[in-house]
């Protein structure tokens, strides 16, 4: 049977009625998709061998959707990690709102041993194709982002529900207070490329304003301070199509970026002034 994403059974009224009566319905389309995904090497880290065997048996009769044969992915980062064995224990600690004691390797060598902390999310970067543990370090009052591949050991550490509640609301408040804004304007002659430009910004939190009289678009981005570098790389990616019109830090960095790049090409006065500050941060993270 042809896959149809607009199947009757997916209809919103059916869905909500099933939910009310405590029922659900899984189609062969979904099982075929799952079957295809189980072929991915990531599956080995996601399940115990027993679970894998059970799933394989249940799905064996489903149609093969041969997606890989007809779909080509381009300009993707090398997929070095989709799953990590630590996802299983860590997600359980997070779900149970427990604390953890983590030992991890530092980026530049050395180890941190048995640090007490409160993990609150597991974050996957589509750009770096890696998993990070986001956790709060109460003693140092710091937000940590640690690559799972650098974690040597994790133990659960008991904390009270009240303390967990307190930490979670504190984390939410701090995240909220650290949000920054910038306004990007689409240079009018590139309005024809609006679709491409909007796609490029569609992975950020944003609002768009349109000024009818001047036919101008402005994109107001909301982001965390440590995301500046990624935003800058996006803006350089789009080149002369966009201009930052609000956000002093980003503007200053673009000004520097332009001068230093031109200096690379032997243009401008800053031949010998490349101090590496701009570069350091291009692909850095808070890990």
């Amino acid at each position: 049977m042809t896959m149809n994403l607009f199947e009757k059974i997916f209809n919103y009224q059916i869905m909500s009625r099933l939910e009310e009566s405590g029922a659900f319905a899984v189609t062969s389309h979904e099982r075929s998709w799952l079957r295809a995904m189980l072929d991915h090497p990531a599956a080995a880290d996601a399940f115990t061998p027993e679970t894998m065997a059970k799933l394989a048996a249940v799905l064996q009769a489903e149609a093969d959707i041969d997606i890989a044969e007809h779909v080509m992915e381009k300009a993707s980062s090398v997929e070095r990690q989709v799953y990590h064995p630590l996802l299983r224990p860590l997600r359980r600690i997070i779900a149970e709102r427990q604390g953890s004691r983590i030992s991890y390797r530092l980026k530049h060598g050395g180890m941190q041993h048995e640090q007490s902390g409160f993990p609150y999310k597991l974050e996957y970067s589509m750009v770096k194709r890696e998993w990070y543990l986001l956790w709060y370090h109460p003693r140092r009052h710091m937000f940590m982002s640690t690559r799972l591949r650098n974690i040597a050991d994790v133990q659960q550490e008991e904390i009270s529900p009240a303390r967990a509640e307190e930490l979670l609301s504190k984390i939410a408040a701090i995240i909220d207070s650290r949000k920054e804004h910038a306004v990007i304007e689409v240079i009018r002659i590139y309005n024809r490329e609006l679709s491409r430009i909007m796609y490029a910004f569609s992975c950020f939190e944003k609002e768009v304003e349109y000024f009818d009289d001047t036919d101008t678009y402005r994109i107001r981005l909301t982001f965390m301070g440590d995301e500046c570098e990624y935003i800058l790389s996006k803006i350089r990616f789009l080149g002369k199509r966009v201009r930052i019109i609000e956000g002093e830090k980003l503007q200053r960095r673009m000004r520097e970026s332009a001068a230093k790049t031109l200096a690379r090409y032997g243009i401008g006065e800053e031949h010998d002034q490349l101090n590496g500050e701009e570069q350091r941060v291009i692909f850095d993270s808070s890990s």
């Binding site: 899984v26 909007m198 692909f283």
Partner: protein, 443 residues
């Protein structure tokens, strides 16, 4: 009745999401090529679906729909746009009947007659009682899509839910499955089936009173969440490729200002239609990670190899099949010509040579790390303490240029000279944008 098309809804949601509330009703309608009345009708319908699916949404009618769909990273566990795929319209009586049947089967296997009884006791009075024929055709449909199975044994047949992927697993295994589906739907393409399965598993966990263990522990950074809108056409295209069938569609280049042409006979719409009717032998589908966009690559007898952005396809219909030999030949041709495409460019191959500068003072070489991660089939051909040389042969320079430019002063293009000069000119222009101290305009 014509097959229900969701072109309007897809174009509508895409524009809504990409331009996040930039347009007034009139501007929005005009750009979509629909009347304000149709705009209002569409938004009412989409709102109703979204509110039914995401019951936590505030019911405030005054709230802007765009605001409702705004992407919020820390609350992005449920993909907002998924509700599009729940838009299939259905008669109230049919949706009730199917829900009653499925709810009844949830508890235990039943025969068609027992299901008729269930319907007569549970359907609201205003709906007609279904006859045996109707129930049998419902059961046939549910069996076809793999939701239920006819059990072994003699007549009268009993039907049961196909819940093996849930029933065979322990509670702990079910959590592993839920996580796996979540991770794969979010990191791989295509995703829609995975998101739908995720909704179902969520329901299964709720039934086991394991709500708390869902906890939504995962976040996915910089994924293009609007990509799932384009999947609406994906399976039609894949099916046509598999069957070596031509496709016809009305194509709207994303550079055109209008995104959609009504299929109605309203002469106003027809006059303003700018789309082009195309007939194509589909060969490959491409997903571009750089922008989160999908493409269809195919062959037309008039123009040869053609590339279409999935977002521009409307009124897609499968046509006649072509001989296997023709398909294979065209596919080979395509593979040959896209071998060096950074994305989908089939222009002349060019050798690009660029020097990347290692970060000074940083202890990890994140520049090299990024080149290795994203530089596709390019190679590092020479290296010293300060920099390294990267070489790649690509079709045309257009598609790789933004990537090279995104490195700022860490990348110096050496060859071709034309590309080098273009980058110099662009950086001069970019510099001019920031020359003066920022001017703040009064609003």
């Amino acid at each position: 009745m014509a097959k229900e098309s969701f072109d309007k809804e897809i174009q509508f949601l895409r524009m809504l999401v990409l331009t996040s509330g930039a347009y007034s009703r009139q501007q929005f309608a005009q750009r979509l090529g629909i009347s304000v009345h149709t705009f209002d009708k569409t938004i009412r319908r989409l709102k109703e679906i979204a509110h039914t699916v995401y019951q936590q949404l505030p019911h405030d009618q005054g709230q802007e729909f765009a605001e409702t769909l705004r992407f919020n990273y820390y609350e992005s566990a449920d993909p907002m746009l998924l509700f599009l795929f729940r838009a299939k319209s259905l008669k109230e009586s049919e949706s009730y009947r199917l829900s009653v049947i499925l709810a009844a089967l949830q508890e235990q296997a039943k025969t068609a007659m027992e299901l008729i009884d269930a319907c007569s006791s549970q359907l609201p009075e205003e709906y007609p009682l279904p006859d045996e024929k109707t129930i049998r055709s419902d059961l046939k449909y549910l069996e076809d899509i793999g939701v239920i199975r006819k059990m072994k044994g003699g007549r009268p047949y009993r039907y049961s839910m196909r819940h093996d992927i849930v029933n065979e697993l322990t509670d702990d295994e079910l959590i592993d499955l839920y996580d796996f589906v979540d991770v794969m739907a979010n990191t791989q393409v295509p995703s829609v089936q995975g998101y739908i399965l995720r909704d179902n598993l969520k329901q299964a966990l709720k039934l086991k009173e394991m709500d708390a263990s869902m906890a939504e522990p995962f976040l996915y950074k910089y994924h293009y969440y609007s990509r799932i809108l384009d999947e609406a056409h994906l399976y039609t295209l894949l099916q046509a490729i598999r069957e070596r069938r031509k496709l016809s569609f009305l194509y709207f280049s994303p550079k055109a200002r209008k995104k959609y042409a009504s299929q109605n006979t309203n002469p106003l719409f027809q006059r303003e239609t700018q789309g082009k009717q195309e007939s194509v032998l589909p060969l490959k589908v491409v997903y571009d990670h750089q922008y989160g966009r999908w493409y269809l690559l195919g062959h037309t007898s008039r123009l040869g190899l053609m590339k279409y952005r999935m977002e521009g396809l409307t009124q897609v219909q499968a046509g006649e099949a072509v001989p296997e030999e023709l398909f294979t030949r065209k596919l080979q041709e395509l593979e040959e010509r896209t071998r060096h495409s950074w994305l989908v460019d089939t222009g002349h191959p060019v050798r690009v040579r660029a020097r990347f500068y290692n970060p000074e003072g940083a202890r990890t070489n994140f520049i090299k790390e990024r080149v290795l991660l994203q530089g596709q089939w390019g190679r590092i051909v020479e290296e010293n303490n300060d920099s390294f040389l990267y070489e790649i042969t690509v079709n045309g320079m257009m598609e790789i240029k933004p990537w090279l430019r995104s490195f700022g002063s860490s990348c110096e293009v050496l060859k071709p000279l034309k590309l080098r000069q273009e980058l110099i000119d662009e950086w001069k222009e970019i510099q001019s944008y920031y020359d003066d101290e920022p001017v703040r305009e009064d609003f």
